[in-house]
Amino acid sequence: MSATDRNPLAALLAAAAALGAPATRAEIATETRIDYRYTEYDEEPLPAARVLSGSADRYRIDTHQVKIVTPLRDTIELDVRATQEAMSGSSPWFVLPAAGGELRQVMSGATIEDHRRELVVTMRREDAPSDAWSATASVSREDDYRAVSLGVGREQPIDPQLSLSYGASISRDVIEPTDAESMSRVLREDKHTVSAVTSATWVLDRHSTLQAGVQAGFGRGYLDDPYKLAVVGASLVPDARPDNRTQVSYLARYRRAFETASLHLDYRYSHDSWSVRAHTLDLACYLRFGAHWWLVPALRYHSQDEARFYAPVHAADAADAHHSSDYRLGTFGAWSARVSLRRNFGSHAFVIGLERYDSDEGWAVGGADQAVPALLEYDRIFAGFDFAF
């Protein structure tokens, strides 16, 4: 919780800390902070009537996250974020037409066991209020996957009401699928991604801020999913996607403060060279109760159109030989509701929360023409603490 919530003197001190700055970006840390979260992510089994073979049980992921932010000098801070995930469960494999024209999902037969470890290190230097440079390096490693990325960012105040941010990053990913030879999968492939982002942040008045920006990403290389197959005509063939993808997202984020609450409204429109278009809207309310408690209910809606080469089953191959039955590339809409509860103890805090996510073809804007048999439902619960010293 901000000190401004506790008493008028604290509010005055917080305002003094914002002197000369647009007050929309955190300043260099003056103390070391350690945040920790534990998350359980659990996907609902598919309805038995929709599964032809394999286990209906889907992914469960246990995640530990630690974030440490510490000042190195008056103008430089170090931000380290580490994540460890343990994943298990079955994954949608391919779709088969059943008697009566129904479509049935085939799941991966064996339970997948995998671990992911990620480390993200950011160094941020602020020469003047809201005038900062940052550099980020990250590595992510799974049993069958490795990724590294480098990025730089810049924040610049334009005037007391407006600041600009821009940045770029590059990444390289390598996949070495498990059971590659026995399952006729690729042995080793890689992809490269370049991403650029720019945004502007306005102080609209004493109570509200607006951020708007664009992110563009270009990926090249192996973009298929080696663990998925597709029915094309009478054949069962590996998932095959274009070897490049350009994706552009436009985002707007609005924040409005009230006496003991605030409103957060985020909207994103994305489209890409695979003909996917998506709208995502996220609404959250931060409600303060008493001096120390915060309740944060939130609602998210996502709608996407299918990739041009998606079909649950393909009658014949396309001219470009691209085909996929991956449910994530289908047309669907998704609702997600979440709530978290936060208790502050001075500059420390304890937080718990949960989320419920559900998706359906019929919830997409404009509806869907094709079935997406493996659509997802999941629950997520998390707990953690923020500690400063």
Partner: protein, 77 residues
């Protein structure tokens, strides 16, 4: 993929939105920014939960994108 002219139209629309926002802003003195400096007025008050949600959504939906440069990917399936 949209034609370049469509991208340009969207970019111009975004800039117009920005200009409108700029016109709509009121001069706010530093001592009037107490509420804007509150914890709950940050764009991502809970950075770890925001990172977790972004990672989950981007691995279960067809698109990803935030106002931070993209990081390393994952083999999520």
């Amino acid at each position: 993929m949209r034609r370049p002219v469509d991208l340009a139209v969207r970019f111009v629309a975004l800039m117009l939105l920005g200009l409108l926002a700029g016109c709509a802003t009121q001069q706010v003195a530093p001592w009037e920014r107490g509420r804007l400096a509150r914890w709950d007025m940050q764009f991502d008050p809970d950075a770890l939960d925001a990172a977790m949600r972004e990672h989950t959504y981007s691995s279960k939906e067809a698109v990803a994108g935030s106002l931070a440069p993209a990081g390393a990917g994952c083999g999520c399936n």
